[in-house]
């Protein structure tokens, strides 16, 4: 056990022991521990095997950035041991090592496979013979990857709750700057939400011994009304929407002002063996010690580019870690160097670590003077070698700016700081703290307060005093950022020894790989990224982008600005797919009568947005019932629009190619809507209710689009017309069949005789006590009444009609029988028999276009042209004699087997005892009696063209 005595800011509760297992072995930790800290305290040093070479990897950042400690928790891969809190009974397992972490067969790749595994090796080494690729692929899939997902995992099924939230100010990052920003915005009266990924805000301050300040600020923020989401990660910035993942909740946060205080990411140094367990970032070692009271090692070698590494050295010494040597890459180390020397430790200016060696963990490290660059495979560096079990590195800090960049901020290379720093900030976005280039506790806090005030001021809050304070802070902040603390720019590669130098730990990309990529011509950062996969691993470039850019710049003799950076994309952190999937929203529309269809055991199917009755078990019998007695179908899905106002008639004249302004009240006309390109958009019936009111029905699927279309033109034309979409307000049924009139007489006092209620009349009356609009139309080809009533009475109407029709043999019929019935009448279905290219002329409805209308109407100009040209293909009916129903969509062939048209609808007609259909055929073969060839799944069928409806061609039944 390497547990230290109580540390001032520690997160663990020593009185509460938590037991869990790692690869089946029991482990004990304390509440507040992470998996990583508990395992480390128990002596574990190897946490994973690397992606490609299966090298041992241990804790490095202890901040959830690097890939080294990714484990599976209770079967779910992808958890970072260093940040995932321990839970009683949790089952933790390693990933990517066979048979085990300590003995991994695949690590042979590291020793012997070097030449076989250059960048792109999948496609170089394993490409021949080509036939074997599927085998290679399986092996490679197993060898690489970061874990395996079980096919079935009932205990892992969970549903993320989406929680949409609004706030005035969203602060991401709960360090000193974030806390201060949140508190100062809230104190001015803003609604503030603070998102922090730790178990409790405080950020680096807690690690650095400022836990008192952090705690005080935390209390202050809470007192000011700040709501804190801890253990929460902001995943991205989408046009102002910030999704925040917190356990099983995904908050979708919309704020007016955003403060990003996301901190900075410590960078590793690139040297030979820099991935050995025991090579750790200074922040990682400090976090282990101060948050979890775990002693990271006994004897350390330190290499740093700034004071931060020196401070870490002092802190480690305090908890009893012996310091073998401290290398400062700067020629003049900063002030803490004196303190280090006072501890009796040698500080080597202008030196760095060039090589780490060891087996299971680091055993010794070599320190040598910093050289600008070293050739690949050059002589091992000369220097002094120290025995140690810990190598602490600090290669500078990179702003964690990915959210800011997604929000539109720009970055530019800052040669003084040696990283890409924020340059231009977008509107309503503020950066505070380390991400904005502030370093010491005082200026972090000051920049936070400034950002908080600026956000509040942007909301129109604040007062003269707060504005004055903001001005002062702005000056102080400018001074603070003008003089960054002295830091050395580390060479792209510090040293090259016998072992590999890793630029990218996630994907096992070495400095050599990057050089090779350049040599092979992948010499832009974006190409190099795709070729070597550098920056594409779980750290998403946080710990390798700068190094790879620096290396490319050095190799190609260009500036870092010229090389540039790769694009930052959401999510900023790997996230389980289940979190993003969330609960499904599958809006289903149901008719007011839908419950009855279910009770009648209808086969229910999707029809556009609607759930509809496909049939009630016997579509053929349902068709015959309509022909012989009566049928009842729910047509509530029809689009229904009220068009009202003094200009309503003229408005419709402009939208339809036929004339509607002369329609008499109480009469119905069929209409086809065209686009200005003369193509069919939708169809339906129009009934004039009174001088100023038209009732327009549309297809079920076109209802929404037609309303938008009408409303769009209305907005444009500014006529005295008002539209109301009452699609959902009315239930509608079609009562059809020879007995329909007799059934009507049982439920209404309305005179339904053929003389009083003619074909294409629309009447209003009580039916079964319910106010209805009754349209006498004949979509299905028999005497029919389409009855519309308030949705709330839909079920009552349905019940009453079925009951009244019982003695006549009425049957409910579904969508499928209706399709047969309408096909017998050659009534087209827009979207089924027509497509976006169909014109009324092609669809054999030239009569619908009234070019003698003097007014302009939508589609007029195009239709005028089509009226004079003969269409190349025409929609016709056809019959087949051999009894087989061709698949809808089958091709119509010309003599030479070239496709010249297609079948749009086809069914067997039980009443005609014949296969019927509709198809687009060449205009030259569109006359009655012509034959066309249909190719369907390898068969060819001879069809006979028919231009008149198959059933009741002259409409006598319909009008009777």
């Amino acid at each position: 056990m390497s547990r230290l005595p109580a540390q001032p800011g520690e997160r663990i509760a020593r009185e509460r022991v938590v037991r869990f297992t790692f690869d089946g072995h029991p482990v004990e930790g304390y509440e507040g521990d992470t998996i990583g800290s508990a395992l480390y305290a128990a002596g574990r040093r190897t946490f994973s095997r690397s992606f490609k070479y299966h090298r041992r990897r241990g804790l490095m950042c202890c901040a959830g950035q690097c890939p080294n400690c990714i484990v599976a928790v209770d079967g779910a891969p992808g958890a970072r041991a260093c940040t995932e809190p321990v839970r009683e009974g949790m089952r933790v397992e390693h990933l990517n090592a066979t048979p085990g972490l300590e003995f991994d067969l695949m690590s042979a790749v590291d020793r012997f496979g070097g030449a076989l595994t250059p960048p792109g090796f999948y496609y170089k080494t394993f490409i021949r013979p080509r036939k074997l690729w599927p085998v290679y692929e399986k092996v490679l899939r197993h060898a690489a990857g970061l874990g395996r997902i079980a096919k079935v995992h009932p205990d892992r099924q969970w549903q993320t709750e989406y929680r949409r939230r609004h706030t005035d100010v969203l602060v991401v990052g709960g360090g000193l700057a974030g806390l201060r920003a949140a508190a100062s915005a809230a104190e001015l009266g803003a609604d503030v939400l603070l998102v922090d990924n730790g178990p409790r805000p405080g950020g680096r301050a807690i690690v650095d011994g400022h836990h008192g300040t952090a705690g005080h600020l935390h209390d202050k923020a809470v007192a000011a009304g700040v709501e804190i989401l801890d253990g929460a990660t902001a995943l991205g910035y989408f046009d102002g929407l910030v999704p925040v993942w917190q356990g099983s909740t995904l908050h979708q946060i919309r704020a007016q002002e955003h403060v990003f205080a996301t901190g900075a990411v410590e960078q590793p140094l690139v040297f030979s063996g820099n991935d050995l367990p025991g090579v750790m970032l200074s922040g990682g070692a400090c976090r282990l010690a101060s948050l979890y009271a775990v002693k990271p090692g006994n004897r350390a070698v330190v290499a740093t580019t700034s004071d931060r590494g020196l401070q870490a050295a002092i802190a480690l010494r305090k908890i009893g870690v012996e310091l073998a040597a401290v290398a400062d890459l700067r020629s003049t180390p900063g002030p803490p160097a004196d303190a280090v020397r006072k501890l009796g430790v040698e500080v080597l200016p202008g030196h760095t670590v060039v090589e780490a060696q060891g087996g299971k963990t680091v055993a010794k490290a070599t320190i040598a003077p910093v050289q600008a660059s070293e050739a690949d495979g050059g002589a091992p560096p000369t220097g002094r070698t120290f025995e140690c079990d810990l190598v602490i590195t600090s290669g500078g800090f990179v702003p964690a700016a990915s959210l800011l960049v997604q929000a539109g901020a720009k970055t530019r290379y800052d040669s003084q700081r040696g990283h890409f720093a924020l340059s231009d900030m977008p509107k309503s976005v503020h950066a505070a703290g380390e991400v904005a280039g502030y370093e010491d506790a005082d200026s972090l806090s000051c920049s936070g307060k400034l950002a908080g005030l600026a956000a509040a001021h942007a909301l129109g809050l604040g007062n003269p005093a707060s504005r004055k304070a903001a001005d002062e802070l702005r000056e102080r902040a400018a001074t603070a950022t003008a003089h960054p603390a002295a830091a050395a720019l580390p060479p792209a590669v510090c040293g090259q020894g016998a072992s590999k130098c890793f630029v990218c730990h996630c994907e096992d990309v070495t400095a050599k790989d990057i050089r090779q990529s350049i040599a092979e011509g992948y010499d832009s950062i974006e190409l190099c990224k795709r070729y070597t996969t550098v920056t594409m691993g779980p750290c998403q470039g946080r710990m390798c982008e700068l190094q790879s850019v620096r290396l490319m710049a050095q190799e190609m003799g260009r500036s870092l600005d010229e090389i540039g950076t790769t694009t930052t994309r959401p999510p900023t952190t790997p996230v389980p797919m289940g979190v993003l999937a969330g609960p499904p929203f599958e809006p289903a529309k149901r008719s007011a009568i839908h419950g009855r269809h279910r009770e009648l055991n209808a086969n229910v199917m999707w029809a556009g947005d609607w759930r509809r009755a496909y049939d009630y078990g016997d579509p053929e019998a349902e068709v015959l019932a309509v022909h012989r007695a009566a049928g009842l179908i729910d047509v509530s899905t029809l689009g229904k629009l009220l068009v009202r106002g003094p200009d309503a008639g003229e408005f419709l004249d402009r939208l339809y190619p036929n004339r509607l302004s002369n329609l008499k009240p109480g009469r119905i006309r069929y209409g086809v809507i065209n686009s200005d390109a003369g193509r069919i958009v939708d169809d339906g019936t129009i009934c004039r209710l009174d001088d100023d009111t038209f009732y327009v029905t549309t297809t079920s699927s076109g209802a929404g689009a037609v309303e938008e279309w009408f409303s769009w033109w209305l907005t444009d034309w500014g006529m005295r017309v008002y539209l109301t979409d009452i699609t959902q307000g009315l239930a509608a049924v079609n009562l059809a069949g020879p007995k329909a009139r007799e059934i009507m007489e049982r439920v209404t006092e309305l005179d339904c005789s053929n003389e009083a209620f003619k074909y294409l009349d629309g009447k209003r009356a009580l039916i079964a006590g319910v106010p209805c609009l009754i349209l006498r139309i004949g979509f299905v080809g028999e005497l029919g009444y389409e009855i519309h009533c308030p949705s709330a009475h839909g079920e009552h109407l349905w019940d009453a009609l079925l009951q009244a029709g019982e003695e006549f043999g009425i049957r409910p019929f579904g969508l499928e029988p209706q399709r047969v019935l309408r096909l017998q009448k050659m009534h087209i279905l827009v979207g089924q028999d027509t497509d976006s290219e169909s014109t009324p002329f092609g669809a054999a409805m030239p009569w619908i276009v009234k070019l003698d209308k003097e007014e302009d109407f939508i589609g007029r100009w195009a239709l005028e042209r089509y009226s004079t040209e003969s269409a190349s293909t025409t929609l016709v009916g056809f019959t087949l004699s051999d009894g087989r129903v061709p698949t809808e969509g089958s091709v119509v062939l010309d003599g030479g087997q070239a496709p010249i048209g297609q079948v749009t609808s086809s069914r067997f007609s039980p009443v005609l005892r014949q296969v019927i259909g509709m198809a687009w055929v060449p205009a030259g073969r569109a006359s009655d009696g012509d034959t066309v060839t249909i190719a369907d799944n390898g068969r060819t069928l001879q069809a006979r063209v028919r231009t008149k409806p198959f059933y009741d061609p002259d409409g006598e039944v319909l009008r009777s």
Binding site: D239, G408, I673, S675, D676, A677, R679, I680, V681, D682, G702, A705, V706, E708, W709, S711, W712, W713, T715, D716, W717, G718, D725, V830, G831, T834, D835, S836, I858, G859, W861, A862, R865
Partner: protein, 88 residues
Amino acid sequence: MTDFGFGGEVVRRPRSRPSFRELNSYNYFRRNVAGVQREWWFHRSGCRAWFIAERDTTTNEVFFTARPAEVEGAGAGVDGAQKADGAS
């Protein structure tokens, strides 16, 4: 997003009978600018009103929204071909 429907860039419908070329240009051609353009939008899930917005297509920044009557010289007319697709 389902709250708003996009109606395409504002295109002037010919005031009088266009030539074949003008008609095709009106029906099928759009400027498709990378930058600021005027567009039709529909508040589909809300008040169901059509309005005109000026938006930068590269940044998605909206500069103003207005009902057509409030937009001077916005030009009338809409994107016929596109709507036809939407409705079929």
